[in-house]
């Protein structure tokens, strides 16, 4: 099998990785449901405080797109609905039953008889549909387009290159999860035109290989093992150069396939989540099987520090993740939690030093000459923001061969024509340009704001 090559990107070697041990965390008395963080989402809450609900019951849906339903992660009584500024829904807290096993049953049917329309309806009703992400845009998958065109391609990565993502090999080495995964694969091959599975090595496990041989519309690809090889944007861009098709590209994480497999073999949604916890701010760097919506503190044991804000909790990886607080609940959109110590130390005369232990992609520090040594990440900004000096490092690291700093300038002046000419849609939001910028400009966010501007203007 040919390895799909790409320029740019970087293989991050970062300390405090999660170990391969798995811990089971018991059911929690209070769980929470967190709405997705996107500006184009207006939730309509259809339950109120005191309601008794069962797992899988719809809590809220999107006003514009009613097919985006979000369901309860467990059963119990709604204890609190929290709104933020402008009455934006922030959190729904559920006081769980002791057993926490009352789930809505979506009748089991044999997958050989079921039609693709029925499968999609089931995925919508069970709240799984919003977990698919569309590219370009990293957005929810619109249902009308999907059914009309039926050109959609699904991308699944059986590995992760994110700095401390979930170990997917470990996830799929669990017998029960592997069974659900196989089941899920069989289901999704019925509704998507093509399913592309990406791996960083040649061989996949025997069970997955069987499915690959049975189904005609599922393909295995091997891709270079460096960040962000598991990003759908990069993968679809590489596939586009081969296929010459303007497909709708949809991404799914392996755990989503497991959820689908669970839904179709057991009849109700899966309650467990498989999460990795890593970083130098936590005592237990490992994988956890927890119930959906559990509070972060139920499985993260952060180290003790003088001040509370000396520890940073990140949902997702350290490059693209979202900062959360220790009081938050586990959301359904990321599979890993990073706990990092804040680095506010003021090192004297830092840039006269040799820099023997710096996380850097430049050779300006001594450690830059040894890229294969594991480094500790630091949350320090490592400098102040300056104007762009056109060093060109963002051009060299961009995995999709865009020109980030020119895109940035186009975004700053809201020049839609220029942005579209530069293929702004193909920015995969990997944040490598922001990471590497020596002027400390948030290039990635500026490009994102340009994308949002285009979306707003239509």
């Amino acid at each position: 099998m040919n390895t799909i090559q790409f320029n740019g990107g970087h293989r991050f070697l970062i300390s405090d990785a999660p170990s391969n041990s798995i811990y089971h965390i018991a059911s929690q008395p209070i769980i929470g449901s967190v709405p997705p963080v996107t500006s184009f989402f207006k939730p309509k809450v259809i339950i109120k405080v005191g309601d008794k609900i069962s797992g899988g019951q719809v809590l809220f849906y999107d006003k514009k797109n009613p097919f985006l339903k979000f369901v309860a992660p467990g059963c119990g009584i709604i204890s609190n609905i929290k709104y933020g500024k402008k009455r934006v829904l922030e959190l729904i807290e559920i006081k769980t039953d002791k057993k926490n096993d009352n789930f809505i049953n979506f009748n089991k049917t044999s997958i050989n008889k079921i039609t693709s329309q029925e499968i999609v309806d089931k995925l919508i009703d069970s709240g799984i549909w919003p977990k698919f992400k569309k590219f370009p845009g990293f957005d929810f998958v619109p249902i009308d387009n999907f059914l009309k065109i039926e050109l959609s391609q699904l991308y699944i990565s059986l590995f992760t290159t994110e700095p401390h993502g979930l170990n997917i090999n470990l996830l799929l080495s669990q017998k029960k999860y592997l069974d659900f995964f196989i089941m899920g694969l069989k289901v999704i091959t019925k509704i998507f035109k093509e399913v592309h599975v990406f791996n960083n090595k040649d061989n996949v496990s025997k069970e997955i290989n069987e499915v690959l041989e049975q189904k005609k519309n599922i393909f295995l690809h091997k891709i270079l093992d460096k960040y962000p090889a598991d990003n759908i944007g990069l993968q679809s861009w590489k596939m586009k150069s081969k296929n010459n098709d303007n497909n709708i590209n949809i991404s799914a994480v392996p755990f989503l396939i497991i959820e689908i497999g669970h839904l179709f073999s057991k009849g109700h949604i899966i309650q467990e989540r498989f999460i990795s916890v890593s970083g130098n701010g936590t005592k237990k760097k490992a994988h956890f099987i927890v119930n959906a919506g559990s509070p972060i503190t139920s499985f993260v044991n952060s180290i003790e520090t003088e001040k509370i804000n000396d520890i940073r909790f990140i949902e997702g990886n350290i490059l693209t993740g979202r900062q959360i607080s220790s009081k938050d609940y586990l959301s359904d959109y990321e599979q890993s939690i990073q706990v990092i110590k804040e680095d506010r130390e003021r090192i004297p005369l830092v840039f006269f030093r040799l820099g023997l232990n710096k996380l850097t992609l430049f050779k300006t520090w001594f450690s830059g000459f040894f890229p294969s040594v594991i480094r500790t990440p630091s949350t320090n900004n490592n400098g102040e923001e300056r104007s762009c000096i056109q060093c060109g490092y963002c051009l060299n690291i961009c995995p999709t061969e865009l020109m980030p700093n020119i895109l940035m300038k186009a975004s700053l002046i809201n020049d839609i024509e220029e942005m579209e000419r530069m293929d702004i849609d193909e920015c995969i939001e990997c944040q490598l340009c922001t990471f590497i910028c020596p002027s400390k400009i948030e290039i990635g966010h500026i490009i994102k704001s340009g994308k949002d501007f285009i979306k707003k203007e239509g």
């Binding site: 081969k242 990140i314 804040e342 840039f351 320090n380 102040e384 990471f435 020596p438």
Partner: protein, 424 residues
């Protein structure tokens, strides 16, 4: 202990409205120079690369150290030679230090004041670009330059070359080179000709035992001897630097070789090592190469620009060598190697042309930019002998053209990327 007192000062500056608060830019500049700022990332990516612009610019300064040290020694050596006596290494270095160090200090102070004033007015931090400009500028000036002219130059360069455009990163031309170009046209007597290149030594001036022979006389005697032997002729011996000398050699005699004339005074090896008269830092090609190696090793400068400047100059000089006849300008006869080791070519190639702000962005445009600089430099040197130092003018010229080159190259590659995606 020091930092504790320093923190107090910063705190007072931030809280009061008095004199100190007007110096916020200066204080925060010194503060972040002394210690890494404590600011942490507040959103993705939560981790940033350890390199910032301060480190970038610091490494360029490190790359300039060999040139600076050699320039100091060379200034001292030539000062002693001009009064006709030999000097030890330390004597020469000390002598050079007395002439060069004040210039470096003045450059940093005057430039720093401009930079701070503008940063204060804009309520920005002080940008790091001036760390490099402040050292580049004295190195491309003659050591004899009067201080008042020197100050006018750096103030002009910083304000007109950089600050009016919005500071480091926004400038379209290299501020250090602009300063020099300004002085070159405004005060030509102090920047060109035969006088400015050699300083008068502070020591031993009144020592009666020394023979008060002029450096020019030594060279003159050498040349006259050579003319007598070969039958060539020289119009006027006005130039001290190799380039000026080469300009003034006339080629009336078909049998004489221009290069032999030149090498009689300055051998290629001398020009490569750099113990010849000239601007403080740019005489030594060897030291520029050492600095260039440092820059390439740490990845601060672009090897594409350096290589293409070299290739552009070499090829152009070679072409001129082919078309040169005895009637044409004497500089047409100079070999490519001599062109490269002469004057400020190496210094410009390594430290000036590679300035990321004023050079193009795309890798391909870097090649175009570099080749144009090299070719233009030789063109100005040979075709227009009024300005023998073509490197300064060609770099300034191409600085203005670099956005233009980028515009078309990037346009081409965007279209190619689209085609590539659709076709392959």
């Amino acid at each position: 202990m020091f930092f504790r007192q320093w923190d107090k000062l910063i705190k007072i500056a931030n809280s009061t409205n008095g004199l100190l608060s007007t110096q916020k830019a200066l204080l925060s500049g010194i503060d972040t120079f002394l210690r890494r700022p404590s600011n942490v990332t507040y959103r993705a990516p939560h981790v940033r690369d350890a390199t910032d612009l301060k480190r970038f610019m610091m490494l360029v300064v490190v790359g300039l150290i060999p040139c600076t040290l050699f320039g100091i020694w060379n200034t001292g050596t030539n000062a002693y030679l001009s009064i006709g006596c030999q000097s030890t290494f330390f004597e020469a270095f000390l002598e050079g230090l007395l002439h060069v160090l004040p210039l470096i200090i003045i450059s940093y102070t005057a430039g720093g004041i401009c930079e701070t004033l503008f940063a204060q007015a804009r309520k920005h931090e002080i940008a790091e670009g001036f760390l490099v400009t402040g050292l580049l500028y004295p190195l491309i000036c003659p050591a004899t330059i009067p201080w008042w002219i020197f100050i006018i130059g750096i103030v002009f360069g910083i304000i007109i070359g950089k600050e009016v455009f919005g500071g480091t990163g926004m400038n379209i031309i290299n501020p250090a080179l602009l300063s020099r170009a300004f002085l070159f046209f405004a005060y030509p007597a102090f920047m060109s000709g035969d006088d400015p290149w050699i300083v008068k030594p502070f020591n031993k001036l009144d020592d009666g035992t020394l023979i008060p022979s002029n450096w020019t006389t030594i060279a003159e005697e050498k040349i006259l001897m050579f003319i007598n032997n070969t039958g060539g002729s020289i119009d006027a011996l006005t130039g001290q630097t190799p380039l000026a000398l080469a300009t003034n050699i006339s080629t009336n005699d078909v049998n004489t070789n221009i290069n032999e004339f030149l090498h009689e005074i300055y051998s290629t090896w001398d020009m490569f090592i750099g113990n010849i008269p000239g601007s403080i830092g740019e005489t030594s090609t060897l030291m520029c190469l050492i600095g260039g190696c440092i820059l390439l090793l740490v990845g601060v400068a672009s090897w594409r620009i350096m290589l293409s400047v070299l290739v552009g100059a070499y090829v152009t000089a070679l072409i001129f060598n082919f078309v040169a006849t005895p009637d044409t300008s004497s500089l047409m006869h100079i070999t490519p190697i001599d062109h490269i080791v002469m004057g400020g070519f190496a210094f410009g190639m390594i430290f000036m042309a590679t300035d990321p702000v004023t050079s193009p962005l795309h890798n391909i445009s870097k090649f175009i930019y570099g080749i144009s600089i090299g070719a233009l430099c030789i063109l100005i040197r040979t075709i227009n002998p009024a300005y023998p130092e073509g490197m300064m003018l060609s770099i300034l010229f191409m600085n203005i053209f670099s956005p233009f080159i980028d515009h078309y190259v990037i346009k081409y590659f965007i279209n190619k990327r689209k085609e590539g995606v659709n076709r392959a």
